[in-house]
Amino acid sequence: MPSKSSPLPITFAVFHNDEPADVTLDFADNADVISTTRWRVPNLEDDAMQTRAADAREFALLAAKRWRHYRDTDAAALTLADLQRMIATDPQGEFCFHLKVTADWFPVSLGGAMVRRTWCHHLIIDFLFVHPSICGRTVSVKGVGIKLLRGICMIARALGCKRVWGEATRDSAPFYEQQLSHPVEDLFAFEHSDTAALASSLEAERRFA
């Protein structure tokens, strides 16, 4: 059954310089999404890290571009209540929302995700990314990506969605395999039991009511 109370915002800890530090996951608004387009890629000596950081910025830009499309067609939700209202009005509508992770110890958002709710009430993860400085390891922060994924599962649980799915690439398939404990090709799917478990694991880490 869909939950009546909003699971977001949620505050939990991640590692910052190998010490616990609080961050908050919440729905993003227009200003939040647009602010990610101003992220800069640090100059790194390690080519692999440089590529990762550049990818993060590119994914944030792509997510913002897609956001503008949904925003301009009145299909972007700014809160869970918004999303629930949109679904109630048009049960087979396709809607979009963005998530952000913020902390008072980091000047901009630490990461984000662009998610779609499909006509058959599934969630699709289109883009999920952490800040280029975190990707490039010029800032030591661990746990933002996995917790964004769990946060999406919390929303799926709150909405009563039976599946969270998306496209796995050559680079991301090993990550999904690790979460799902089975081989993944170019499609991953977290079914109801998976999303419930991931949602519960984040809920258990909620640090403030």
């Binding site: 993060a56 792509l62 289109d126």
Partner: protein, 61 residues
């Protein structure tokens, strides 16, 4: 857990650190992004500039 990190007891902090280590291990294969840049279907087609027509060379007289 309802208190600031600075007020955690050593045991509470050790438990939290142990959980965060598990999360960090679960991110072992996370490169920093999920999704596929090539599946971005809403992107507008980039405008292409027409190559400027070359002016016919003037015949040398």
């Amino acid at each position: 857990m309802q208190k600031p990190l600075s007020e955690l007891t050593p045991k509470e902090k050790a438990d939290l650190v142990a959980r965060l280590k598990l999360d960090a291990a679960a991110e072992e294969h996370f490169t920093g992004v999920l999704g596929n840049r090539n599946s971005f279907v809403i992107a507008r087609t980039a405008r292409r500039r027409k190559p400027a027509a070359r002016k016919p060379a003037k015949a040398k007289t």
